[in-house]
């Protein structure tokens, strides 16, 4: 671990000032401290933002939810309103990490977490994300867990967050505070494709701070859920995951929100699947034909070709679980 200074911000203004001066924000620290120990991250200054008043969950009259950035994963998952309105969010959180990590990790930190690509985490390996221009060891290396969607010649690392998949499906927005005020960015625009600059992972301006995540209201009743396929039953990242939210009326699907995890360099919105579902009546056949569209554009690597089939089947299964077979 490289030496660093540690300061604590007592309020948002102090945090932003420290951030403007190059400080790295730390909340639960469950990703950052790990990476610092491996010397992947070498921040000179850490700014502890845990005293900031960002531990709230508020519900709008129409059924939207705002989750403060410092709410822990445990508390967000267990919040009655989130559980009732967006089971997909609670499920994604509860299928993440371990109970101990969820008690520490925060919502803001969760969407900021960095990839599990093992070459990224090994400072002796080539990695464009960690060391721009050094190359990508994963493309020609062991890449079973890597992405099949959204990859580039520079990076094939998978985005690790389950929560971000659910938030992507639900069109969530990330609220940001900066020196020039606050702004709101759709999560799909917030998390960046690697392209030629995989070291740039979020559309954050220097010193900006996540203050909350907004989940907009969706037509009700909305059924939703999250399915995660992985190598063990707990404490493991997804090989493939599906977040599904469906609203039907008159026996016809009116709203379909579907995103995939474990397969993309960012949480992957399955727009083709959504379009296929809308206006149709739920049926086993519909789930199957919609899921066939899930891996459109996928580019498999040496060891992860299976993810195409697995993704389609995961989406199909979760559509059936959420949508039923009536």
């Amino acid at each position: 671990m490289y030496p660093f200074t540690f300061t604590t911000a007592r309020d948002t203004r102090a945090a932003l000032e420290a951030g403007r001066n190059g400080g790295r924000y730390i909340a639960g620290g469950t990703t950052l401290v790990d990476l610092m120990r491996e010397t992947v991250e070498r921040p000179g200054t850490l700014v502890d933002i845990s005293p900031l008043p960002l531990r709230f969950v508020t519900v709008t009259a129409r059924g939207g939810v705002r989750i403060g950035a410092l709410v822990t994963m445990t508390d967000a998952a267990a919040h009655p309103a989130i559980r009732r309105l967006y089971p997909v969010v609670s499920a994604a959180l509860e299928l993440s990490a371990s109970a101990q990590l969820r008690n520490m990790a925060t919502i803001g930190g969760n969407i900021m977490q960095r990839t599990r690509c093992t070459y990224f985490r090994d400072v002796t390996a080539a990695c464009n994300k960690r060391d721009p221009g050094s190359g990508c060891a994963a493309i020609g290396g062991f890449n079973r867990t890597h992405a099949i969607l959204g990859t580039s010649d520079a990076c094939v690392a998978t985005h690790p967050s389950d929560l971000a998949v659910a938030l992507t499906a639900l069109d969530a927005k990330v609220r940001l505070a900066g020196s020039s005020g606050t702004r709101s960015v759709a999560i799909a625009d917030f998390l960046l494709l690697p392209g030629a600059t995989p070291d740039r992972e979020q559309a954050l301006r220097p010193g900006e701070l996540i203050t909350a995540v907004d989940i907009p209201a969706h037509p009700r009743p909305l059924r939703s859920g999250y399915l995660k396929v992985r190598d063990r039953q707990s404490y493991e990242f997804a090989l493939a995951a599906a977040a599904v939210a469906l609203h039907s009326s008159g026996g016809v699907i009116r709203t379909a929100k579907v995103a995939a995890g474990g397969v993309g360099t960012v949480p992957w919105r399955l727009s083709a699947v959504e379009r296929h579902l809308i206006g149709r009546r739920p049926s086993t056949r519909l789930w199957s034909s919609a899921a066939e569209l899930a891996a459109e554009g996928a580019k498999p690597l040496t060891h992860n070709r299976f993810k195409i089939e697995l993704l389609q089947r995961t989406v199909e299964r979760e559509l059936r679980i959420v949508g039923g077979t009536a």
């Binding site: 985490r121 039953q233 404490y235 090989l239 299964r317």
Partner: protein
């Protein structure tokens, strides 16, 4: 001599050191802090083969707190005298910092010694090493092999050619790492020419002899202390290069040094279970009676040592009646560090191909897998011709089938469903040989009726402290809390390596002997003492219970140890117990039948073990609660081997890709369902005086093939490699 009442042995005693462990008071190697201890951090090579051409330590040396940076550039030449002990292997062990050669990815190339751990670690990350890399080979399947070890009986080729049924199968087993909770750690302190070492080890004598040989000093000048070990599974039996690094660093820095390997370094700083390719051809008649088997094995080893795993050829020779057998095992030297035994070594490797193939044959012939095994049950050991001391596999199958509900199994694969899940049941046989080795123990019974029993063995988790206390308590006729068992110190009476399931048999028999001697001394003292109620009694008729000697059948006639010793002005009685295994006139093994029920998601390929049962013929069970911990732990390890564990090497540069516990998966609680063990009641008196056969190894053997066979039964898919991943079943 009248048999002592069995009050402690066979009782589910809780670990005597359990409270110390769960309250953090048990001091493991890394918890030891000699005064003025400095900390060491090792710099590892980032190539698999080549030479170090540049080594810039300026930035590291400039860090506050750094005392020394040691590499081949400035390290003294170390004697590295031959040492045929310490489980050293054919070849030559890795020499640290003696030249510029790199033999594997992760080889130590420098060490930083600093006043704090943080300074040492940070400075180590600042050491800049340049290499000239040479082409490396780390892939078992494509590299040239050594000359094979072979075995043959009968004419397997001819028998295969004429077999009514013949299967030619290739199985692959991944490299696995032990991954105990406690990382390897060592504290070294020189006092002049005397070296004191606090080590994580399964064998204090191994560390002592190796460090003495490396530094060219008398073993008597080295004391190794290791009271607690936080799991090892075999990887703390040898003395690995980091021990030399720590001792060298302490000598160079002129103060005690503590070195704790990082989790990442445990993937190349110590050994692992090697990867195997196992080709197996079996022939049988139409009734499923095996006529021939041909075993061709390849396994990885390093270029500097040959690790040909003991036991891997044994099951193929003796598990089933097979008139014609040929075997060949080739080690494949690669640019990797040296493998080492891991729980169930050899036997668990062989069990996967053999027990899978038997299952395949059963399916091919439409014979129940248990029935097929029964038809091939041998009457004696077909390799040695020796009778079995005890072999109760038939009972294991019978009890297991009944308790597991085997008769509910529809023989046809892929016929049982539970919603999205396909359900399957599988069975496999477990076997591991009964090892024993000479040992000594010292027993001292004091006038208060409490005893101290000492032997330089270890307790890596199975509960040596507890089980030995139970044996001693019964042999002395006192309660378990009255016994203090000491281990893990080279100043104690010598003991063999704590591994290979030989500790209970060997140390247990030694403790029994030493305690018998002390008890007999006490009895002799009493029956010859006119003031004793036992005066004149037949010594053979005297037993001791609850600290009181009395004539068997006449409890009123007796007295306590305290009364006896106090009256005779004796502060204590003592004796040295010993055990030397008798020449074996029988084939001695522990056996088991392992049953698994799995659910496999028909579309998503996820495998869930639903329940497991192991039925073991392991001789006498000294401590049922510890035995259950062993059996359950073995099953958990086997589930890991079957479904998760896999050390991944990037063959481009020999890098271990998943050198951490986030990417190297072991089962978590959610993966471990109801696991149950049953032990056939009995003992094996040919094995050793206390009738045990060893348990810790056999409980891992057979678990992975039982799971794999259940996966086949569930899905109709035969996966011939481990671990089985979701993509194998899509």
């Amino acid at each position: 001599m009248s048999p002592q009442p069995q009050a402690a042995v066979g009782r589910p005693v809780s670990r005597v050191e359990g409270r110390l462990k769960v309250t953090g008071q048990a001091k493991y190697a890394a918890d030891q802090t000699a005064s003025g201890t400095a900390h060491a951090a090792v710099v590892d090579s980032s190539i698999a083969r080549g030479r170090i051409t540049g080594l810039d330590t300026a930035a590291a040396e400039a860090c506050p707190g750094v005392l020394r940076v040691i590499s081949h550039r400035n390290a003294p030449t170390l004697p590295y005298l031959p040492n045929r002990g310490s489980l050293n292997l054919p070849g030559e062990r890795l020499h640290v910092f003696q030249d510029d050669r790199v033999l594997f990815h992760g080889q130590p190339v420098a060490v930083v010694v600093a006043t704090t751990l943080e300074a040492a670690q940070h400075a180590a990350s600042l050491v800049h090493v340049q290499y000239t890399a040479e082409p490396s080979a780390t892939d078992l399947t494509s590299a040239p092999a050594d000359e094979p070890t072979t075995y043959a009986r009968g004419d397997a080729a001819a028998a295969l050619a004429s077999a009514a049924v013949r299967l030619d199968l290739t199985y692959r087993l991944s490299r696995m790492h032990h991954n105990p909770m406690e990382p390897h750690a060592i504290v070294t302190r020189w006092d002049g020419a005397e070296l004191t070492v606090w080590d994580k080890t399964q064998w204090v004598q191994s560390t002592r002899d190796e460090l003495a040989a490396v530094f060219g000093i008398n073993p008597a000048s080295v004391r190794v202390i290791s009271p607690y070990v936080g799991g090892a599974f075999g990887n703390a039996a040898r003395c690995w290069p980091h021990a030399t690094i720590a001792a060298l660093a302490a000598r160079e820095a002129g103060r005690p040094v503590k070195l704790v390997l990082t989790r990442r370094q445990l993937y190349f700083g110590v050994g692992y279970r090697p990867a195997y390719e196992y080709r197996l051809s079996i022939g049988s008649d139409l009734q499923g009676r095996l006529t021939a088997s041909v075993h061709d094995l390849r396994s990885e080893t390093s270029r500097y040592e040959t690790f040909a795993e003991r036991g891997v050829l044994v099951p193929g020779r003796m598990l089933y009646t097979t008139p014609n057998v040929t075997q060949s095992h080739r080690t494949v030297p690669l640019d990797v560090n040296t493998p080492t035994p891991m729980r169930g070594p050899g036997y668990s490797t062989a069990a996967f191909p053999i027990e899978s193939a038997v299952d395949e044959l059963a399916h091919e012939l439409g014979i129940d897998p248990i029935e097929l095994r029964r038809r091939n049950e041998p009457e004696n050991d077909q390799a040695s011709g020796l009778p079995f001391s005890t072999r109760r596999l038939r009972e294991c199958y019978t009890v297991g089938a009944r308790e597991f509900g085997w008769n509910r199994r529809n023989p046809k694969p892929r016929t049982t469903r539970d919603g999205d899940w396909l359900i399957g049941m599988g069975v496999a046989t477990a076997v591991y040989d009964t090892l024993r080795a000479p040992a000594q123990a010292h027993v001292r019974l004091d006038a208060r009726g409490t005893a101290v029993v000492e032997s330089a063995t270890s307790d890596m988790g199975p509960g040596t402290y507890t089980s030995m206390s139970q044996v001693a308590a019964d042999a002395l006729g006192i309660d378990v809390p009255q016994v203090t068992f000491r281990l893990g110190d080279t100043t104690l009476p010598q003991a063999p390596v704590h591994g290979g399931s030989l500790t209970m048999a060997s140390i247990g028999s030694t403790v029994q002997d030493g305690c018998d001697r002390v008890r007999q001394q006490a009895i002799a003292l009493a029956v010859g003492d006119e003031r004793s109620p036992l005066y004149g009694a037949d010594p053979a008729a005297v037993v001791v219970y609850d600290g009181r000697l009395h004539v068997k059948g006449d409890p009123a006639r007796g007295e306590t140890y305290r009364q006896l010793l106090t009256r005779n002005d004796r502060t204590h009685l003592e004796a040295t117990g010993s055990y030397t295994p008798a020449q074996s006139r029988a084939s001695m093994h522990a056996y088991g039948a392992v049953f698994a029920e799995v659910a496999v998601d028909a579309r998503l390929g996820m495998v869930r073990v639903r329940r497991m049962l192991g039925v073991y013929d392991a001789g006498r069970i000294i401590s049922p609660k510890l035995a259950d911990s062993q059996a359950i732990g073995g099953m958990v390890g086997g589930i890991g081997a079957a479904l998760m564990e896999h050390t991944v090497t990037d063959h481009r540069d020999g890098r271990i890709v998943n050198a951490n516990l986030a990417e190297y998966l072991v089962p978590v609680n959610a993966d471990v369902p109801a696991l149950k063990a049953i032990y056939l009641n009995g003992r094996d008196d040919q094995a050793d005086p206390i009738g045990v056969k060893g348990l810790g190894e056999v409980v891992l053997v057979g678990v992975a093939p039982a799971v794999a066979n259940a996966v086949f039964h569930a899905t109709g898919r035969r996966v011939r490699h481990l671990p089985i991943a979701p993509e194998d079943l899509l």
